[in-house]
Amino acid sequence: MTTTELPPASLNRAAGSDSSDDLSDEVRARLREIVAEHRARPDELIQVLHEAQALLGWLPHETLSIVASEMGLPYSRVRGVVTFYSLFNTKPRGRHTINACQGTACYVRGGRDVLDKLSETLGIEQGETTPDQAFSLAVVRCVGACGLAPVVTVDDDVHKRVNPNKINDVLEGYDR
């Protein structure tokens, strides 16, 4: 188990992460605790990354570096896993994450219109965050609530039978 040379943080910046990816000491400590629980099982990397992401809502470069070195894995391996799975974010998120479901049932019931209307209302494309950092818009492919199509989730709230003409009803109630 050798310690690996970490790539310079500037590499990551070029890849589009936020400038403020310096972790606070508190977060670093919490992160080390998380990794310590799973250190003996490198196959639990995905679980570790889920928990690490829960700290800030995204995975800054330093987080990945710490995970890699503490678990004895090459940084490239960790990064390879992060970029493979769609649920891991390497960019900061808005305070609220909006997921417009584009699963088949939701699509058939007008899911595309819902997504377009959300994009139009918020002024951002999917994958982007509003300038005031309030909302991030993403697409999800089926949350398993097909009986309520079309579905939009905002954080943990599930909005059902969303009407594209009533998008504001969905966004109401989330502080900007």
């Binding site: 990397l45 799975y85 649920l87 088949t104 049932a105 058939v108 089926c142 097909c146 003409n165």
Partner: protein
């Protein structure tokens, strides 16, 4: 309520004790409430209902005597929040927290069912209180879902009391591992995740390996969009999965189990964790289970959003903490799987079947379903279907039964188009396949697959090219990128599909797509790539015309591919009238200009404003908000105002062309063609057999739907351009066809369908039997109509409805319509049927006449009652006579109106080719028959159809004839009309239904020929026009 016993479970006696303990603690219960706590209902605030229940039960003093269970998914997801109340077995749905008080006081305290909270039958509107009486539930056979909806998801005691863990005990203490494998083999269980591989064989392969360390993996990735049965089992009955895995581990010799759950299912993870904790606490998991040498434990692994991780080798990669990339097989997981050990990977649903198989025996399971596909399957019904949710049915049930009998059919009066099975790896089943028995092999033959059981229903507003693109987008997104065929193949196929949906399709695209599909299917590394082409292949197979229409005609018939049209209404209108344009003009107070704008594309605004079937309104997006704009009513207003103003005059003929056109038939199709050809400058002669012009508009549709005055002044605007209409001239009698061919440079055959089909039953030629068309013609032309008293009309189309309502106005005391299918399948417009019923006309469905007999000076119509069995190719129910069920009706006049056909004899001299159904055959692009210069359109080409299609055909033929005679085919539409910018404020769209059209009172109007619909006042017309969302602005 989770009250787990702390006592260890090792023997059958221990299981008995847990069961008895459960029975003991629930015995003093008078009422049981099973509240659905599946994810769908929870999202619909079932939690609030739970709280309200607690409060209300306490307040009513019933808390001690009532058992509230938080169950898994009942399955009726569209009806949630829902609950079942025992001992009466009443099902309540669409509940709100505020309903609980009434429920508790009325039902529990006072013993009265609360009807308005019950399920209501879709057709009759009647309440159906009992769970067992509701077809959605009654037709299911719940094995996998045996506890969902019934048992508390959290109570191990209840799981045991309902038979849980007996099978595991039996397997591990009374059977050998080989015996267990054999039992699963006998059952015929096949993988429920989609592959359909025989589970017993998979277990046998792993069991045969000598390795000491092996794995059992439960695949809970359920990535198929549209599938949510695995989720519901994990959330609602996690112990059934644990028990299945326990047995599996014993059978193959594995002591490690892993449940891989996708990260999008946090509730499933939570509930599974709880259940695992419960099982461990009593020794059902861990060392020496049931006192045997066998140990088994399970850990949960969570995915992170990759569809490909549902594929077994990718899944294992993910469990090992790597990128979820699949690898080649062989080696198979049973040889070398997780951490290089022999591994079996089974789907959640497959595992939930194991305990019942061991408990009841493999033969029992094999007796359910059909040969080759035993047992049941859980389907997730979603999309355009009335009853969305989970249903578990025996294999071999027909597709139609699932969609219509259980699923409730397509909502909002729309028509079924396709059922998509198998998600992005699957294919489409069409209306022609409704009789197909659902099993693994029959679906594959049709180009689809069973898949995980997701069944997404799509109605006719679905564009199949768009569907193919949607699925390919999904696959391209989710492609892991490892192999070239999938990574690049899906991208290229997506590019082609995207171009086609944007109107940039090219000849040869479909062939190229098909070729790419074959290559990708044959060379991709894993199941994702190998099956990604399926939706494309399937849609090309059954909906090739839609691809051709997109590429060649730049037309999307479903109104989905928005780059191909201006607005959905314009796209849906066969004549492509500029609807948003004329609505703007009305809103701006310019009805005359609105009329002129309509006339550019449709010379019959007054007619269509009264009798058009308005496909535009079915496509109107406003309908998604509240109600579609009443486009037809606004059109009528514009026409009426224009005609009343007297400002409608002759249009100057801008061109002069050399050429003489002969048109046979002065119906809407012939007159439309005449109008446009005249405006192009040709000499036009129209030959009409009847004494008046108008075709069906004059002699078919009655006065009270289309006043002849309105019709004639519209026809006059065509006459005034110089079109010569000769009435009372029959081609073949007064002038020969050969003469017409000599006289004119081109002919248009627009004779419609003037001859009635007969029923083909004895007595049809008796006096007092008059066919619908003849009857209407007689009355409309002012002739005396036969004696009336009691009238029976046989048929279900518009002719039958018109004849019935006319008979009423002619003085009949009672009018009854007999139809051989159900009312909901009558081809007549729903509005006509409703208006007829309001006027007192009775409609008897499912009766078919077998003979007409005289009975004194009256007639008796003897009928057979019909039953429903299966489906015909067009998706309608097939009717079969019910044996020995007869009914007779007596009447003074019998009017059969069962469709019409073309009187084509007059074309025999020229040998114009006729199709097998008697219509004129034409080239689909030019509308020309086999005889050069002779064209055909309207009903004469299509069979009985609607006015707007006839008008559209007239325009197409006018254009075609112009090209035939050397012109460019451009129709003269008059000077451009300046349409104002619509006054729209997007933020201020307020919901408002239609501004109502007024109708004459049913009792009065039934005896008069006054027009039933009264038309809009200016205020209503303007207000209705303002409801338009102007989809044309983008």
């Amino acid at each position: 309520m989770s009250v787990t016993t702390a006592r260890a479970i090792v023997t059958a006696d221990d299981l008995d004790a847990v069961r008895d303990d459960y029975i003991e603690r629930t015995k003093d219960v008078d009422f049981t409430i099973m509240l659905c706590s599946g994810a769908g209902c929870l999202s619909s605030k079932a939690g609030e209902i739970a709280e309200a229940l607690e409060r209300e039960l306490a307040a009513a003093g019933l808390a001690e005597r009532t058992l509230v269970k938080y169950t898994g998914c009942i399955g009726a997801c569209g009806l949630g929040p829902a609950l079942i109340a025992d001992p009466d077995g009443v099902f309540y749905c669409h509940l709100k927290a505020s309903d609980v008080h009434e429920l508790v006081t009325e039902h529990l305290l006072n013993g009265r069912v609360v009807e308005h909270l019950c399920y209501h039958d879709l057709e009759t509107g009647q309440a159906v209180p009992k769970f067992d009486d509701i077809p959605f539930f009654a037709r299911q056979r719940r094995i996998v879902l045996r506890n969902c909806g019934r048992a508390d998801h959290d109570d191990l005691g209840e799981y045991v009391a309902r038979g849980g863990y007996r099978a595991a005990l039996k397997a591990m203490t009374e059977m050998t591992p080989k015996g267990v494998v054999d039992e699963v083999l006998t059952s015929g269980l096949r993988g429920r995740g989609g592959g359909g591989f025989p589970t017993g064989r998979k277990w046998a392969m792993a069991a045969a390996k000598p390795d000491r360390e092996k794995y059992v993996i439960c695949n809970g990735d359920e990535g198929d969009p549209g599938a949510f049965m695995d989720r519901s089992v994990l959330e609602g009955d996690p112990h059934s999965v644990i028990e299945g895995m326990l047995i599996a581990g014993y059978a193959i010799g594995a002591s490690h189990g892993v449940v891989y759950v996708r990260a999008e299912y946090p509730l499933a993870v939570e509930r599974l964790e709880t259940a695992l904790g419960q099982a461990r606490a009593v020794g059902l998991l861990g060392e020496n289970v049931f006192g045997t040498e066998h140990s088994f434990d399970i850990e949960i692994r969570i995915g992170a959003g990759a569809f490909v991780c549902g594929e077994e080798t990718a899944l294992m990669s993910s469990v090992e903490g790597r990128r979820g990339e699949p690898h080649q097989k062989p080696p198979f997981p049973s040889d070398m799987g997780l951490f290089r050990r022999p591994t079996i990977i089974n789907n959640v649903e497959t595992l939930a079947n194991i305990a019942p198989i061991i408990a009841e025996g493999g033969e029992w399971f094999a007796s359910i379903g059909i040969a080759g596909s035993s047992g049941t399957k859980v389907f997730a019904l979603a999309g355009d279907i009335e009853n969305t949710g989970l249903v578990e049915v025996p294999m071999g049930i027909s597709l139609g039964e699932v969609i219509f009998d259980i699923g409730g059919g397509v909502p909002n009066g729309r028509q079924f188009k396709v059922a998509q099975t198998g998600g992005p790896s699957g294919g489409c089943l069409t209306a022609a396949h409704l009789n197909t028995k659902i099993d693994y092999d029959s679906l594959v033959k049709l180009g689809a697959i069973m898949g995980s059981g997701g069944l997404v229903v799509m109605d006719t507003n679905t564009c199949m090219v768009d569907v193919a693109k949607y699925f390919m987008q999904f696959c391209a997104d989710e492609s892991c990128g490892k192999c070239v065929p999938c990574r690049i193949g899906t991208t290229r196929m997506l590019e082609i599909l995207t171009r086609i949906t944007k109107g940039e399709g090219r000849e040869g695209d479909v062939e190229k797509l098909a070729e790419l599909c074959d290559v990708v299917r044959d060379t991709a590394l894993c199941g994702l790539g190998q099956t990604a082409p399926n939706p494309i292949l399937s849609t090309i197979r059954y909906f090739r015309e839609e691809y051709d229409e997109h590429i060649r005609d730049h037309y999307c018939r479903a109104g989905v591919c928005s780059d191909l049209f201006v607005a959905p209404c314009v796209n849906a209108c066969p004549a492509h009238v500029d609807v948003p344009g004329y609505l703007s003009l009305i809103a701006a107070g310019r009805p005359l200009d609105a009329y002129r704008l309509i006339r550019q594309e449709n010379p019959f605004p007054s007619v269509c404003g009264r009798v058009c079937t308005h496909p535009c309104e079915l496509a109107c997006r406003r309908g998604q908000l509240d109600e579609p704009v009443d486009i037809r009513a606004v059109k009528r207003y514009a026409a009426d105002v224009a005609y009343e103003s007297g400002a409608v005059g002759a249009e100057a003929i801008p061109r002069q062309r050399d050429g003489s056109i002969g048109i046979v038939g002065a119906g809407p199709s012939g007159l439309t063609a005449a109008y446009y050809l005249r405006l192009s400058g040709y000499d036009v002669d129209v030959y009409e057999q009847q004494p008046v012009a108008g075709g069906m508009l004059a002699v078919g549709i009655p006065e009270f739907r289309l006043p002849k005055g309105s019709l004639q002044r519209e026809i006059d605007t065509i006459r005034v351009t110089g079109v010569r209409i000769q009435t009372g001239v029959e081609v073949g009698r007064d002038v020969s066809f050969d003469e017409l061919m000599a006289r004119h440079d081109a002919l248009y055959l627009a004779v419609g369908t003037q001859v009635s089909w007969t029923l083909g039953i004895p007595g049809e030629d008796l006096p007092g039997v008059v066919h619908g068309l003849d009857y209407l013609r007689q009355v409309n032309l002012g002739g005396a109509s036969p004696e009336q008293g009691s009238v029976i009309v046989i048929g279900g189309g518009n002719t039958a409805l018109d004849a019935a309502r006319t008979a009423l106005r002619e003085g009949a005391e009672k009018v009854t319509i007999l139809y051989r299918r159900r009312v909901m399948e009558m081809p007549a417009a729903a509005e006509e049927i409703a208006e007829a019923r309001e006027e007192g006309i009775e409609i008897r469905e499912l009766v078919a006449p077998v003979a007409i007999e005289t009975a004194g000076d009256r007639l008796t119509v003897r009928c057979r009652r019909m039953g429903l069995e299966g489906f015909s190719d067009d998706g309608r129910r097939r009717v079969v006579p019910s044996p020995d069920e007869e009914e007779s009706f007596t009447a003074d006049l019998v009017i059969p109106a069962v469709s019409q056909f073309v009187d084509s004899a007059f074309t025999e001299p020229a040998a114009v080719r006729i199709s097998s159904v008697g219509t004129f055959e034409v080239d689909s692009r030019t509308s020309m028959t086999n005889v050069p210069g002779v064209f055909a359109g309207g009903d004469a080409m299509r069979g009985p159809d609607v006015v707007i299609d006839a008008i559209a055909d007239g325009k197409a033929v006018a254009s075609s004839i112009d090209r035939y005679l050397g012109g460019d085919g451009e129709l003269w539409k008059g000077p451009a009309i300046d349409v104002p910018e619509p006054w729209i404020d997007d933020d201020d769209t307020r919901e408002h239904g239609r501004f109502g059209m007024c109708y004459l009172d049913p009792e009065k109007r039934a005896r008069s020929y006054d027009e039933v619909a009264l038309g809009y006042h200016r205020v209503d017309a303007v207000a209705e026009s303002l409801r338009c969302l102007h989809c044309d602005r983008r």
